[in-house]
């Protein structure tokens, strides 16, 4: 009970802090001071106060889309375990529900984008659905590996590994899966090298361009959902990279927070040292992630 509450509090409050860490890391690399750590919270509060402007061509899909996206992503967050604790909701096969909740979020985000009758949003929507077709199979290969290793079909069991945790003998498939999952994380949360969150050139954007017409609280909802997605996928990845848990509850929560901030810093480093890939090369990167997870699967079943 207490663990569920702590996890839900972290799930609701921590995601914008991750974005702040990423921005501060990029600023440090560039020799700047950068925005304050809590800037994203201030941005969300500011957006909640603002008035909305709707395009004349939009329908109920544009207004309801961001809300359904938030509901779906939040529900997916409730399925993921943090540290050695169980997730608030767990049942056999919840990994499929998890993956398809992201699909539901994507359906409504892209539909809301197409509702604006603008070629910019159409561009972003087309790219978003294309890259999802390549990252979903990679995610499922990773799930197959984890399911085989742990012997269960629930995310809580799969991410905690077999009895006694992941052993060093399983390092090879897990490293391959970690590489694949990291690329999927970068793709789904729209980070460099897949998408640049800072550019405002519509020809080069994916996620940023889909939200051009949203304003006010609905824009805040979308930005918050994107941060939530980063948090959730980061939590999944942490189980594979750092499967170490001490036995003490408060130390494990502290470790979890520190590891999430460390992962955000690592994403910031990746964003600072690389440039965004050419749009036509992004599918190659995603296929590489798919093959990496696929090879991990081959190692596990032989």
């Amino acid at each position: 009970m207490i663990e569920r509450t702590i996890y839900i509090v972290l799930l609701v409050l921590m995601p914008p802090l991750l974005l702040g860490v990423i921005n501060k890391t990029k600023a440090w690399f560039a020799g700047r001071v950068g925005p304050p750590w809590l800037q994203n919270y201030y941005d969300l509060l500011k957006l909640l106060r603002k008035r909305m402007v709707f395009s004349r061509t939009t329908t109920w899909v544009f207004r309801v889309g961001p809300l359904i996206t938030l509901a779906a992503v939040f529900m997916a967050g409730l399925l993921v375990p943090a540290g050695p604790f169980a997730a608030p909701i767990a049942f056999t096969g919840d990994l499929i529900f998890f993956a398809y909740l992201f699909g539901l979020a994507r359906f409504f985000t892209t539909s809301a984008a197409l509702d604006t009758c603008s070629p910019f949003e159409g561009m972003g929507a087309a790219r978003e659905v294309t890259f999802a077709c390549l990252s979903e199979p990679a995610l499922f290969f990773a799930f197959l590996v984890l399911a085989k290793l742990s012997g269960t079909l629930s995310l809580t069991g799969m991410l905690h590994g077999p009895e006694g945790g992941f052993s060093p003998a399983l390092a090879a498939p897990l490293v391959l899966v970690a590489i694949g999952l990291f690329v999927v994380l970068l793709a789904e949360s729209c980070r460099i090298p897949v998408d640049d969150p800072n550019t405002h050139l519509e020809l080069t954007m994916i996620h940023e361009v889909m939200v051009l017409d949203h304003s006010g609280p609905l824009l805040g909802t979308i930005l918050y959902s994107a941060a939530l997605k980063l948090f959730i996928l980061g939590t999944v990845l942490l189980h594979v990279i750092v499967p170490y848990h001490s036995g003490v509850a408060w130390i494990d929560w502290l470790l979890f927070v520190v590891e999430m901030l460390g992962l955000a810093g690592a994403i910031g480093i990746v964003e600072s040292v690389m440039a965004r890939l050419q749009m036509r090369h992004v599918p190659y990167l995603l296929v590489a992630a798919l093959l990496s997870c696929g090879f991990g699967f081959l190692l596990v079943i032989r």
Partner: protein, 656 residues
């Protein structure tokens, strides 16, 4: 009693179109009588199905008849009951839909024809599903195929309709030919045409029967290389006929495969593996072709191919489970397949009825000329959104519930707790994930291009919401999708009985789908998701932020003259994916030649013909026709010569 009810239902459905033929072509009375008879027949049939399910042994009827082979033998076991449920729901709803869509007064020249063959199609499909004798099965199968041909060819003065109905006729008869061969072998193996579970059979004979059944029924079901008649036929038929063809008639092919695989003894593992691979290939090919279409009915037809592939994967998993002795795989695989049969029946008919409403309102099937219909046809828009979410298998609707069960089955082939698995089969789960993501791309494209955005041409200027007789069936189907999605336990007991009957699982084995898959947890999280969405919407409405919002034009980067033609078209939306899959699609592009400082007006066009029909079959038929020109020598046009040929052949036949 249930047999009598179902036979009454079949008779009522088959003759429902007859009274209209006796009435005037310009009155609505005949069509209303037809719809009433179909509704009564369907109600009687559903009552009969319900009664048969509650009986311990399947009710049956055997009567010898006037033909020298076979007998009139029918039975209603749980497998038949599942398919009968579909046959007695969708055509009746289609008939009510037809009251508004194909009004007799608006189509006096072919309305009665369509009503007659529509009823015959529904009745013959029900007979196919309950037939337990090979000859009766073939008779009902042929009646179904011909009734479908005549219903499909309703608008026979349209050249395209004539062309595609001819292709359909050729395809269905190729399938029937394979079925003739299969039943001949069946007679050889078991000594009669009766469709009862066979005892031991030589492995080669059993495999030959299985392969012939698979190919013959694939022509009807639409597995990959045999699907070539589907896109044209479903696109050019009247929409309620397309709905029945797509939702119900394709499942007759699936029924055939399920029935024959139940009757054959001791299946070897390669049967299940072949069907699993074929299903995955069909699913991927179907959805990739769907993504590249700009005719929305053709898109829906290819999407049916994809869903048949998913059902095939389920049946393949069940066959594999039977070969390896894994009861869980049988329950999960066939249970998911039967559930998807119902699910696809519901949401595909909903989508086709919607497509008919759009066609009726705008008179065009081209996505690139539509747009902005969400404001002009709001009710159709909401119903289409429900259908699109269901077909993409997104929670909390029924498509997700069915695929969830299939996923759990496929993941279990990894082999847990020390039991041997077939890990290669688990790759099918990855294929299913890819199919799901591609389906989201395809239906976001369809929904966005047709209903969202702004009109791309004048075609939408007279669009309006469809009539009540068209909206009512759509609303019922949408309600069915939601009910089965949030409460999958409504259908699971029947599917489980069908799986037990199919796999001959003894009563002592206590495995059940409800124990393997947490259906109650699914219901709860589905309701939870709806609750969260409702909460968020409620907060937005309560804080009255929508009221203080103002309207403006879409942000256009300061462009001087934005037009609605600048929006993304369907071809643009799918372009990255069609480029990625160009090895399968082989698109034909007309690229613009842009030269000089002030280039002339030009255009870009991309056409994706069907791989099997237009790239393989038609060219080879044309080549064969050219080579066969040498035989023209025999056709001299003189009657005396033809009489001589007849005499010569008769002498030869009498001599042998």
């Amino acid at each position: 009693m249930s047999v009598a009810l179902i036979l009454t239902a079949i008779v009522l459905l088959s003759v429902s179109g007859l009274p209209a033929c006796l009435m005037s072509a310009r009155s609505l009375g005949g069509q209303r009588v037809a719809s009433l008879l179909m509704a009564l027949g369907s109600a009687a049939g559903l009552w009969g199905v319900g009664a048969s399910v509650s009986e311990a042994t399947p009710p049956a009827l055997r009567v010898p008849w006037f033909l020298p082979w076979g007998e009139f033998s029918i039975a209603v076991d749980p497998i038949s009951a599942v398919f009968l449920g579909l046959v007695f729901v969708v055509p009746a709803l289609g008939s009510i839909y037809g009251l508004g869509y194909w009004k007799q007064t608006e189509h006096p020249e072919n309305g009665r024809w369509l009503g007659l063959f529509y009823g015959l199609l529904a009745g013959s499909m029900a007979l196919v599903v309950i037939a337990r004798d090979g000859v009766l099965f073939l008779g009902a199968w042929e009646a179904m195929a011909l009734a479908a041909y005549f219903a499909l060819a309703t608008e026979e003065d349209n050249l395209e309709v004539r062309r595609v109905s001819w292709v359909y006729l050729v395809a269905t008869h190729c399938g029937t030919l394979c079925l003739f061969a299969m039943f001949a072998l069946w007679n050889r193996a078991t000594g009669s045409f009766a469709l009862n579970a066979a005892e031991a059979m030589p492995a080669a004979l059993a495999s030959a029967i299985f392969v012939l059944a698979l190919i013959g029924f694939s022509f009807k079901a639409g597995f990959f290389p045999f699907h070539f008649w589907l896109p044209g036929a479903h696109a050019n038929a009247p929409s309620h006929v397309s709905a029945v063809l797509s939702s119900v008639m394709l499942k007759m092919g699936i029924y055939g495969i399920v029935r024959m695989s139940a009757l054959l003894p001791a299946p070897p593992p390669w049967w299940g593996e072949t069907l699993l691979a074929l299903g995955a290939l069909t699913g991927l090919a179907g959805i990739v072709f769907a993504l590249s279409q700009h005719d929305f009915k053709r898109l829906l037809a290819y999407s049916s191919v994809e869903n048949v592939g998913i059902i095939g994967m389920g049946v393949g998993l069940a066959l594999l489970g039977r070969s390896m002795g894994r009861v869980e795989w049988v329950l999960l695989g066939l249970g998911a397949a039967l559930f998807h049969v119902w699910n696809h029946g519901l949401f595909k008919s909903l989508l086709f009825f919607n497509a008919g409403a759009i066609l009726h309102a705008t008179n065009t099937r081209d996505i690139d000329r539509l747009g902005g219909l969400g404001r002009l046809m709001p009710k159709a828009c909401i119903l289409f959104a429900v259908g699109a979410i269901a077909i993409c298998a997104l929670p909390p609707l029924n498509g997700f519930a069915g695929e969830f069960i299939l996923y759990v089955g496929l993941f279990r082939t990894l082999g847990f707790n020390g039991e041997a698995g077939v890990p290669a089969a688990a790759v099918a789960a990855v294929a299913l994930a890819a199919i799901g993501a591609l389906a989201v791309a395809c239906f976001v494209k369809l929904f966005g291009m047709v209903f969202l955005g702004a009109p791309r041409s004048e075609a939408v200027s007279h669009a309006h919401d469809p009539r009540k007789s068209m909206l009512l069936p759509m609303a019922l189907l949408a309600g069915g999708c939601a009910a089965l999605g949030i409460f999958p336990t409504l259908g699971i007991p029947l599917f489980e009985r069908a799986c037990r009957a199919w796999g001959s699982i003894p009563e002592s084995n206590a495995a059940s789908i409800a124990a393997l898959v947490p259906l109650n947890a699914l219901s709860m999280v589905g309701l939870g998701l709806l609750g969260l969405a409702a909460l968020a919407t409620g907060i937005l409405l309560l804080t009255r932020r929508l009221k203080t919002a103002r309207c403006a034009g879409t942000w256009d980067c300061g462009y001087a003259q934005p037009t609605h033609r600048m929006q993304y078209t369907g071809t643009s939306f799918g372009q990255m994916l069609t480029d990625l899959f160009s090895f399968l699609l082989w698109p034909k592009d007309h690229r613009p030649a842009v030269e000089g400082e002030f280039p002339a007006q030009t255009y870009f066009k991309r056409v994706i013909p069907d791989l099997v029909l237009e790239r393989l079959l038609l060219p080879s038929f044309h080549w064969a026709a050219r080579r066969a020109q040498v035989l023209r020598f025999f056709q001299q046009g003189q009657t005396q010569l033809y009489v001589l040929y007849v005499v010569l052949i008769l002498i030869v036949l009498l001599a042998i």
